[in-house]
């Protein structure tokens, strides 16, 4: 798994395709939000804006890790190798996670600037929330990206597949962020984080086990 991950990250570093388009997309969506929302009133909506932006941009970016193999049939090269299929899933998951994390950091900083949200207020907790949320999102999105990449209407299908299932992540991440940013008690945020963590574990394990099924032909 590590070699695949290393290869994917190396590729990404080399071409910067997915990262660049993802970050650009994130910035543009954020910009749209800035025009659509009243900055003073929108401060409370910061977590919501963050996650909506990240999710929609992410859904487009996440397919990239699978498309990279389609070009010269390298996907078959991977399948031929004596590698556990679950390892391919894990590698893609982490690769997507890294890219999403970078976009997340950029987005958070920009959001702080634009909406005047005191980001440094609770950096570690925020990190935890974002981290857990991203893992869940990446797991779900990677799993279904493997599906949608092989079908015709792939850009349309991936959001359809992922969004309804992503509801727990959206709710938990936004609520937890809200509590953390307003300096609320850690315990109440903890409830959301526990649910989020459970989601992450279930989806990652399910993805690992089910991925094999998705690549059979």
């Amino acid at each position: 798994m590590w070699s695949i991950l290393r290869k994917d990250l190396l590729l990404e570093l080399r071409t910067r395709e997915a990262l660049a388009s993802l970050v650009m997309l994130v910035v543009l969506i954020l910009l749209t939000f800035t025009f659509a929302l009243d900055p003073d009133g929108a401060r409370g909506a910061a977590p919501a804006v963050l996650w909506v932006t990240l999710i929609f941009a992410g859904l487009l970016g996440v397919q990239r890790t699978f498309l990279v193999e389609r070009e010269s049939g390298a996907w078959y090269g991977l399948l031929l190798a004596p590698v556990d299929r679950g390892a391919i899933f894990a590698a893609k998951l982490v690769a997507n996670l890294v890219i999403l994390a970078v976009a997340d950091v950029v987005l958070t900083l920009l959001l702080g600037l634009v909406l005047g949200v005191p980001v440094p207020a609770a950096p570690i907790e925020l990190l935890l929330v974002n981290g857990l949320g991203l893992v869940g999102f990446s797991a779900l999105a990677t799993l279904f990206a493997a599906v949608s990449v092989r079908l015709r209407a792939r850009e349309l299908l991936l959001p359809l597949l992922v969004l309804p299932l992503l509801v727990p992540v959206v709710i938990c991440a936004v609520e937890a962020s809200r509590i953390v940013l307003s300096g609320g008690p850690a315990a109440s945020a903890g409830v959301w984080l526990r649910v989020l963590a459970t989601f992450d574990v279930i989806v990652t394990v399910a993805g690992w086990m089910l991925f094999e099924q998705l690549v059979l032909e």
Binding site: V147, R150, P168, I171, V191, V195, A206
Partner: protein, 250 residues
């Protein structure tokens, strides 16, 4: 080769007895609900929808549960029968789920004064509906690609795994925001009369039988369609080889 003989064994029962029994049960239920059971004191005649609404919800969940189980079996064993069962179960489940979402507002409007509210249970049902609507979209999208069956199966399984998580998060979420109207839970304060319990049970049985019958019919439809395709393919192959033989002889 167990599934085949199972099908053959239950086929006469399912084709012959099930429709009759289901119809009779449903007629009984209708009679109970509209003619026999008294009005609920607080809500009036509208409350009768409850007997349909609640049972439709039960059958929707049953449908999705069966679909997930069948999907798991399909991925594990690879038998097309399980895939067909999953597909049929989702379709029937969706039918009942739609019934729930339609009967709910009809009930809500006179009682709560509003068509909709983001009550945890309603929200849950909408999300569930969307998940399996996507399942059906996925299946409709690529008819001939056999891999789609696997993708759909994965979706059904992940969907079912996600459901408890969705329930928990939605409940927590709505718990924080006090709902404008406290939703009257279906069975809670309402049961005042023994006849209501009986009606509920009769309706439950009727809906269960209806579910089974619809599931059976959809499964048969899918099976016949697959058989038809197989026959068409054989015919095409036969024609092709006949044509080859003809040109070869020339």
């Amino acid at each position: 080769m167990t599934p085949m003989p199972i099908r053959r064994r239950i086929a006469p029962l399912a084709d012959g007895v099930l429709p009759v029994v289901s119809t009779v049960a449903m007629l009984c239920a209708l009679a109970c609900v509209f003619l026999w059971v008294p009005n609920e004191r607080m809500q009036g005649p509208v409350q009768r929808i409850f007997y349909f609404h609640v049972n439709a919800a039960w059958e929707a969940f049953t449908g999705f549960g069966v679909a997930a189980l069948a999907s798991l079996l399909f991925l594990w064993r690879g038998r097309a029968e399980f895939d067909r069962l999953a597909h049929a179960a989702v379709e029937v489940g969706m039918l009942f789920c739609t019934m729930v979402l339609v009967s709910g507002p009809i009930w809500a409007r006179p009682i709560w004064g509003t068509w909709w509210t983001w009550d945890p249970r309603l929200t849950m049902t909408v999300i569930l509906w969307t998940i399996y609507a996507v399942y059906l979209v996925l299946r409709a999208m690529a008819q001939d690609d056999p891999q789609v069956a696997r993708y759909a199966a994965v979706l059904a399984i992940v969907g079912v795994l996600d459901v408890p998580l969705i329930m928990v998060s939605v409940r927590l979420w709505r718990g924080m925001h006090p709902s404008v109207i406290s939703a009257p839970s279906g069975t809670g304060a309402g049961i005042q009369d023994g006849r209501m319990i009986v009606t509920l049970i009769v309706a439950f049985v009727a809906f269960l039988l209806l579910f089974l019958w619809l599931l059976w019919r959809r499964y048969e439809d899918l099976r016949l369609r697959d058989e038809l395709h197989a026959l068409e393919d054989e015919l095409a192959a036969f024609d092709a080889s006949a044509a080859r033989a003809a040109t070869g002889n020339r």
